[in-house]
Symmetry: C2
Subunit: 106 residues, 2 copies
Amino acid sequence: MDTQSLVFAKAIADETRQQIMSHLCCVWLSVTDVVDKLDGKVNQPTVSHHLKVLQDAGLVFVRQEGRIRWYTLNQERVTMCCGQLVSQFAPDYAASIIPVSAIEQR
Amino acid sequence: MDTQSLVFAKAIADETRQQIMSHLCCVWLSVTDVVDKLDGKVNQPTVSHHLKVLQDAGLVFVRQEGRIRWYTLNQERVTMCCGQLVSQFAPDYAASIIPVSAIEQR
DNA sequence: TTGACATATTGACGCTTATCGATATGATGA
DNA sequence: TCATCATATCGATAAGCGTCAATATGTCAA
């Protein structure tokens, strides 16, 4: 069976991780930044752990700069994984959400 | 925060549940049918448990007929939840996967 | 009504995982 | 080199969850 949809699902199946994803959407943040954004909900080792899970799932980009490690959300990956989920579990609807680009080529 | 995406993610974040979803895609099956399809992987109470999780997440339709309870996958719900995920976590891509119907109305 | 079938529920068990404190690793500036 | 900052890793703990055997509930046919 396809393990990709499972890895994706497990990665996003946690509230803290979804909050981290929200904060990493469209911006680059350091680990400390993320900890601050979560405002005391969890501490630094926990954030590092979640970032590793997200990284293993290919859901974040990482960029090292000096002693700071910058993270941002991989929106394309999210889109692809969701597209795969629809293909697998909503084939009757898959055709209706194909990319605009593919339509405008008609 | 939005709890909808979390319920959906948790519901699909299990291999057995994803297999059940695959088997329930486009067809109506009884609990016994699903147990048979899984071919000994898990037994009946476990299947009932998973079906309840899927039902609580709104991911299956249920239809009672005599002593048989028929289940099928709610593909529209899958599509909506995936759309919500993209809106939340891939806003830069959300515009490029809007429904064809919305495009053809231009 | 009774027995058989279909499904749900319960309680227990074990595994996974989220979390933390403590510590290690790594990089920078003085 | 040394102190400091940023992040990762480790070990322990607790909570969540998937699974099963046993049993309960519900439905139908005889």
